[in-house]
Amino acid sequence: MSVEKYLKPNVINQIQRLDLRAQFVVKGFLHGLHASPLHGLSVQFAEHRRYTPGDDPKNIDWKVYAKTDKYYIKKFEAESNLNGFLLMDLSPSMDYTYRQELTKFDYAICLAAALTYLMVMQHDPVGLITFNDAIRDSLPPKAKRQQLASILSVLANTRPSGKTNFAKISRQIESMLRQRSLLMVFSDLLMDDPADLDSLFQLAYAGHDIILFHIMDEAEVHFPFRGAYRFTDPESGTEVDTDATGIRDAYLRAVEEFREELKFRSLKARVDYLPLDTSMQFDKALTEYLIHRRLRT
């Protein structure tokens, strides 16, 4: 699988267009991402802007206040002092596609590629960690343009396999990261025990900024099956005979509840939760998310 597959001209155009059209948004997005305790060391002053409630009071430029009697915030030109990590779940369930077009894994790669591109464009260092029950591949964060190709190359040569163990992986990642990082997790979060996610949320409590891209297949979200089906879990091999027609409503309800629960827990842990399915256009979904994130910051 080639790199080009994930960065097709149209995808790049979309991203570029995104960049041009919403440069401010992207900047804001990145700025928000960088709103970290580390800004004091290598920042260059950029401009002042009016204080708005919610801004950290310690950023108020009291000198300007003294001169103008108005609150201004000092804004700094960000520098790449924030490492981004793409955490890619390699569970076999990620290799599922109903339409036989784009697996969840492929979708995640596309998303990752777009984000990598964006970050590289902003000179932010981006790294990659792929995992199942252990970390399979990892690339250290770099802000070079070659990093995109490197990441895509790794991802293109990876097939989902094995069984995911979030608890274990979270602990490993925590020990790997020496500074606060932006962790972008791509997973379908289909695990036997939902409590495993707690360890991931622990990373957030440890100060890392986490964006949870919850990627599901469109069949998993919309359940288009009718009639009698024998479903097999690609991960565990478990089989379930069921009347798809009769069970559909209950299934959809269960999925919805699952997503709501994740959303609640993410909110609680200050983790950004982004539910996606493979029928959604990821650029659009990403843009919406970025706008949402900017508004939040």
Partner: protein, 822 residues
Amino acid sequence: MVLGNAIVLLLGVALLAVPVVLHFLMQPKPKLAKFPAIRFLREQQLSSRRTMRIRHWTLLALRGLIILLLALALAAPAVAESAFRSWLGVVGFGLLGLLGLILLATTRARVHASQVLMRSLLAIAMLCFSIAGFLAYRAMQSGSSVSLATTAEPVTALLVVDNSPRMTYIRENVSHLARAQEMARWILSQLPADSQIAVQDLGNNAPFYSVDLAAAQKRIDTLEVDFLAGTVPEALRRGLELLGNAALERKEVYIVTDLTQTGWSSGIDVATKLKQDPNIAVFVIDVGTDRTINLAISDLRLAAERLTKSSALAVEATMASSGIDEERIVQLAVEKPDPRLPMVEDGKTKVPEDVWVQTQTVSIPADGSINLQMQLGISLPEGTHHGTLSIFGGDGLELDNTRHFTVEVGEAWPVLVVAPSQVDPRVLLGVLGSGADATDAAPYAVTEIEPQRLLDQDLREFQAIFLLDPPPLEELAWKSLRDFVDQGGGIGIFLGNNARRGSNIDPSFRQPVARDVIGGDISLLFERPLDLDDPEQKLWYVSPQSLAHPVFETLRRTESSFPWQQYPVFRHWGLVLEEAPQHPTQVLLEYTNREPALVERSLGRGRILTLTTPITESRANQTWNRLIYGPGVGYESWAMFTILHHAAAYLVQAGRDTLNVTAGQVATLKNDPRKFPESYMLFTPLLTRSPTKVTANDDRIRYRFTDVPGHYRLKGTKDERAILRGFSSVLPPSVTDLTRIERSRLDQILGEGRYQLAAHKLEIARQQGTTRTGQEFYPLIILMLCVVFAMEYLMSNRFYNRPTSSKSHSLLELFRLGRLYR
């Protein structure tokens, strides 16, 4: 329910196993699919399994129901039409109950099923089943159980085919009889195999079962018109007696008829018989038409069957038209006698072809009738003559276009009138055509003598003797009179004043031999003189009780009653009838005082008529009665004249030769061995039939097989001279009356609602079906089958989710494709 049907039903129920097998065979393997989000499914699996199981069972139940309905449809259940509604209710409530159960099962499959809803559904289902059960019980109590009899069950069938002469009516070039035969053949072909079949015509013969279908068919094929056909009710009564002993439960009567009034006119009560046996289904099949086109000589009357040589042949006929208004030619034809004919030539009887003809053009108004009088312009020679009155031109019924008759031309009848000199015989002479205005054509040759010369006269020369107001006669004279009667002569006695001795009867009339002749003992004189001072006076007059006797023939034909009270009787002799079984005596006329007026006595081969009051009084001196002249000039009693006229003919036994008999009656001809041969060859109207020999017995030729209308010719030889005699058989006018019977009358005869009236095969087939099977559930079952098929189709498709797949598992699809596949 017969065993065969029960087996079919059992087989049908056994078929229920088929859907069960099919159901499990056809259960598809679930579609295999990988699905990572299986953990969400596992949570729902339990309720899903329950739903699936219920759906499986519901589907199975539906498939079983399909086969059950198919089996039911094949068994063709039916009930009497009257009970159909009740059974419809049973089915309807049963289905509602079933629907309630299905809904209950569906509701129970849900995870959060409402207990209230489920209980309500159960209650509704139970209520529906209870109502259905109650309705079924009530329907069965009323004796209208469901019958599974099919139309193939054998029946006992009686086919009454009208073969009356009216059935020769031709419509669209096909006679009604041919139509009836064709219809009967078709009905035969419609009867279930092994049916018992009796074919019955209207002839007077006992019905019987045909050996097999072919025999019944042959009987129908060989049916011919029966000129003596009785009525349908008569034939039906005989047929129903046969059906009464039939072993098969179902009985069907088919009456193929043209529905004419005459054919159904009968006092026989078949309605009661049909009411008693409700198992008999009656079909009346109408092969007739309401729009008949027919001209008919409905009645032919001869002025006299016996003519004297110089008298002319005169006929009077009534002609009627039905649906036609045209001028037609009527021909009166009399065969010219040929001593060689009839004779058989090439197997066929040859009859005289030369005729004397008289024609006349008539115009009969449509649906009206006219009276026609015709007279043959020539005097016929002595002998027997056969003639016809025919109306030319086509119409529906050929049979009544010609009427046959036979007349005899001979010498006048010799009669002797015995009247004392002071008695006026003019009235009688006038009646006998003798007297002052006598003509050559007078039928009687009258000889008048006085009573004292009676013994000198050779009485054998005469056919009849009339004693007008006879005086006391010697015993010898009475004896000779008695012998005369004994030998076949006729005597008319008109008692009067000369029988008196004082106020009593002369003993001469009371001697035994006189009593033998008179027919009884003359007791006393009854007197009720006219009292002019008493306007309220109740006078005696004759009062006819019955007009059956030939002497009343004219009175009988005259519809208006005669005012006898204007012709009173003041005096008459009382007569005590003698009971003598060998000499039957009967009163033909009575006075209002219940005393006999006219008495007939049969004595040996002759007969005597005695009137107890005279007819010889003059108009000026009517002390005994006013029977002849009545209240005044112009009031002469025509009734009395006709009675005398017929009495004279009766006494000379002119009517003894039945030259024109009604078909089926015995024809009798006097055969004087001195004049006629003892045996003859008889040629019937069926010219292809060989002549038969008839022999005189007791000086009479009698022939009874006169059912075919036409001329019956007798040919014999006496003294090497050919003797030709004969008679004609005529159909009564009613036989060819095509007037149709009204429905109300038919209802009376067969019972209202007790029969099915049909004219076409389709109607018959439909009515046969309804009658044999009652009201069928078949259409209803098929409708239900469609609904259940649709439900099964929808459910299986929803269940197996293959709306776009070529592999549907619906039974409907399987039936449609005609194959089963997995």
